[in-house]
Symmetry: C2
Subunit: 137 residues, 2 copies
């Protein structure tokens, strides 16, 4: 029976391998990783403030200000005034931002799927079950 520390180790190297492979697909997105990741929070989590974005992405407020400015520059997100608080603004993805994110995400998933191609189907299925059991995804 594998110890938790062994599993942590395996999970660590697999996570590195998987994301490194997936990230290769991001080059075609025409947008940097920080912007892409923030956009994904907007698309899947819905519109939110700069502060909320910053804490979701674990970066400082000024950093998120710039990331959002970058997204606005390329019309991938827009801001509107918050009805509740004049200091805040609400950031939301545009249709273009939504589309870009979907494309980027699919490209990533195709990459990861390719990594699984060489493994036995039932091992992959077991991995899926185990991930669901442990992480609830």
């Amino acid at each position: 029976m594998a110890r938790a520390s062994d599993v942590a180790d395996r999970l660590h190297s697999v996570a590195i391998r998987v994301l490194r492979h997936a990230r290769e697909a991001d080059r075609e997105a025409g947008i940097g990783p920080a912007r892409l990741s923030a956009l994904s929070v907007l698309v899947y989590g819905g519109p939110c403030t700069i502060s909320e974005l910053a804490s979701a992405e674990q970066v400082s407020l000024p950093t998120m200000t710039r990331i959002v400015q970058g997204l606005e520059q390329f019309s991938l997100a827009r801001r509107k005034a918050s009805p509740a608080d004049a200091r805040s603004s609400i950031v939301a993805p545009t249709a273009k931002g939504n589309a870009l994110l979907q494309r980027a995400r699919n490209a990533r998933l195709r990459r990861i799927e390719a990594l699984l191609k060489s493994a036995k189907t039932e091992d992959v299925a077991r991995l899926g079950d185990a991930l669901a059991a442990v992480f609830g995804v």
Copy 2:
């Protein structure tokens, strides 16, 4: 039976979650992510040239030149002339670099282990087995 595309999706979000959590530990390392990652190649893969490092890390040659300069600055790695090729130099970790990397790696693994704490022991074990079966780790 889970389809490969579902498993890819789960693997994607788990990998993001795991590495985001692990990365929090890196702040205490006192060294940036690119340097830390290059150092780990040196420690686990053994001494190698700038070019080999660059291709292992999937960055350009000039980028790796700078990363190695950073490592040298903090005495985490040293270079010596290649005996075979006067154009090349061999980069190797110092004792300090080795120690720093071990500490950083252990801190990461402890973080990931903490993520597994809330899951059932047998589910974690199954995850370990599945990772081994699919990725050979």
